[in-house]
């Protein structure tokens, strides 16, 4: 399968990319790693007249610590996340998450920014970003704005990103001491989207959960933050009863659609199970942190 014809542009700076995006208008699409967009173009689900390749803009790549946060360029690849010593040290949850994405070849091309801005609830970074309390830097013709991951994902393939804006950077606060994270994903095979997956970041203190952030992948038309489950866990010890209750509350907000991965009831049940396992694992890690 070959995509329909389009014109190709390879700007060397974010300013040039923004100018192209403004000049070419809605018929242009940004090309990041291309492993979602090119398959969609092959199937004619997307038929942009222009592709603006962000692959030749070095300023969009890289991982660095800035104060108490880690800044990640939007064009940083999954492979780079997976092998970053800084992330392994400061944000191991992101490394664990990247390892569950696609396969090695796709991870050399797939980017964190592409995964986020595509707005696909089956992608893994959106729930990870919610759990990690990330913010996104969006650049447009009128300047730059920063938005929280929580609230960024509006509906299927729709985010706060305006058509004339580019997601340039992801900023993630480094979790406090005593924190642990986990991303637990059920998938049928390598490269598949999640049947259900849950990202958890929590901080333990004095035998109880001081803070928890819980987010669900592929459980609805957007990634979901399981607030009721977070609230129920706060101040409690992690035991069979609190795990069961948090999993139940997470299942309550799921609205999965039936597909070849299972029917809605099965997916909801798996979401509960992934949530239970992710909390348990994150808690065990928090105690060792």
């Amino acid at each position: 399968m070959i995509p329909p014809a389009f014109e190709y542009h390879a700007p060397r700076s974010v300013a040039d990319a923004l100018k192209l995006l403004g000049d070419l208008g809605p018929e242009a699409k940004l090309l990041a790693g291309g492993h979602s967009l090119l398959p969609m173009m092959k199937l004619r689900f997307a038929e942009p007249r222009h592709l603006i390749d962000l692959g030749r803009i070095p300023a969009l790549r890289g991982i660095e610590q800035v104060g108490n946060a880690v800044h990640i360029g939007a064009m940083t690849t999954e492979h780079q996340l997976l092998h970053s010593p800084l992330l392994a040290d400061k944000l191991p949850l992101l490394v664990e998450g990247a390892g569950w994405i696609a396969d090695p070849q796709v991870r050399y091309k797939g980017t964190i920014g592409g995964d986020i801005s595509h707005g696909d609830p089956g992608n893994d970074h959106p729930a990870l970003m919610l759990a990690l309390d990330a913010s996104f830097v969006l650049k447009g013709p009128k300047g730059e704005r920063m938005v929280a991951a929580d609230g960024f994902f509006l509906s299927l393939y729709t985010t706060l990103l305006e058509p004339d804006e580019i997601l340039t950077q992801i900023r993630i606060p480094i979790p406090a001491a005593g924190s642990g994270g986990a991303y637990i994903k059920l998938k049928r095979k390598t490269g598949d989207f999640a049947t259900a997956a849950t990202a958890v970041m929590l901080r333990a203190q004095g035998g109880v959960v001081a803070e928890a952030r819980i987010a669900l992948t592929n459980a609805a038309s957007t990634p979901l933050r399981a607030r009721a489950a977070e609230d129920a866990l706060r101040g409690k010890a992690v035991d069979a009863a609190s795990l069961r209750e948090a999993a139940r509350l997470a299942m309550d907000i799921c609205e999965p659609s039936a597909d070849q991965r299972g029917d809605a009831d099965y997916k909801r049940a798996m979401c509960g199970e992934m949530t239970r396992r992710a909390i348990e694992t994150a808690h065990a890690r928090a105690l060792k942190a």
Partner: protein, 163 residues
């Protein structure tokens, strides 16, 4: 018809160029314009890995890369692994360990394993399974492929100059 681009890159050490439409996929340029039919078209949906080639140190599925994205790249395909008529240690090991049956996935499998061994010269079985997870083989059950990669890793470690 859109504007064509003349794309230049290095293919197995040799400078090459091709005139392409932006929508042309790298696998088609390699096979149809540059006579490199080692990389195969399996699924054409970036699942199977038969089209894997090495671009600037990355194993890529060339069915999901545009040739125009490769301007200035340094590319290696299965054709580039043999040196002076001598099979690469991985090729030899796939032969000796019976790491193939029909052979369709083999060029992609070996090209991917070649990059994996450069990143991790002494991989565990788990590392190999994780590292080759993007390549499907419908014949072997993978066990002999893993044995072949392990065997090649040992040989390369004993004689690093041949890497």
């Amino acid at each position: 018809m859109s504007t064509t681009h003349k794309v230049h890159f290095k293919l197995n050490g040799k400078a090459v160029s091709a005139e392409v439409e932006p929508r042309e996929l790298l696998i088609h340029t390699l096979r149809e314009k540059l006579a490199h039919t080692g990389p195969h078209i399996g699924c054409e949906t970036s699942h199977c890995g038969a089209c894997t080639v090495d671009v600037d140190g990355m194993s890529l599925k060339s069915c999901t890369v545009l040739t125009v994205q490769c301007e200035g790249a340094d590319m290696v395909t299965i054709e580039g692994l043999e040196q002076g008529g001598v099979l690469h240690a991985l090729q030899q090991a796939f032969h000796e360990e019976h790491g193939l049956q029909c052979g369709y996935c083999t060029p992609g499998m070996i090209t991917r394993a070649w990059r994996l061994l450069q990143e991790n010269p002494n991989p565990s079985e788990q590392d190999i399974r994780f590292g080759l997870a993007g390549n499907l083989c419908r014949c072997t059950g993978y066990q002999n492929i893993i044995k072949a990669v392990q065997s090649a890793a040992r040989k390369l470690a004993a004689a690093p100059a041949t890497a």
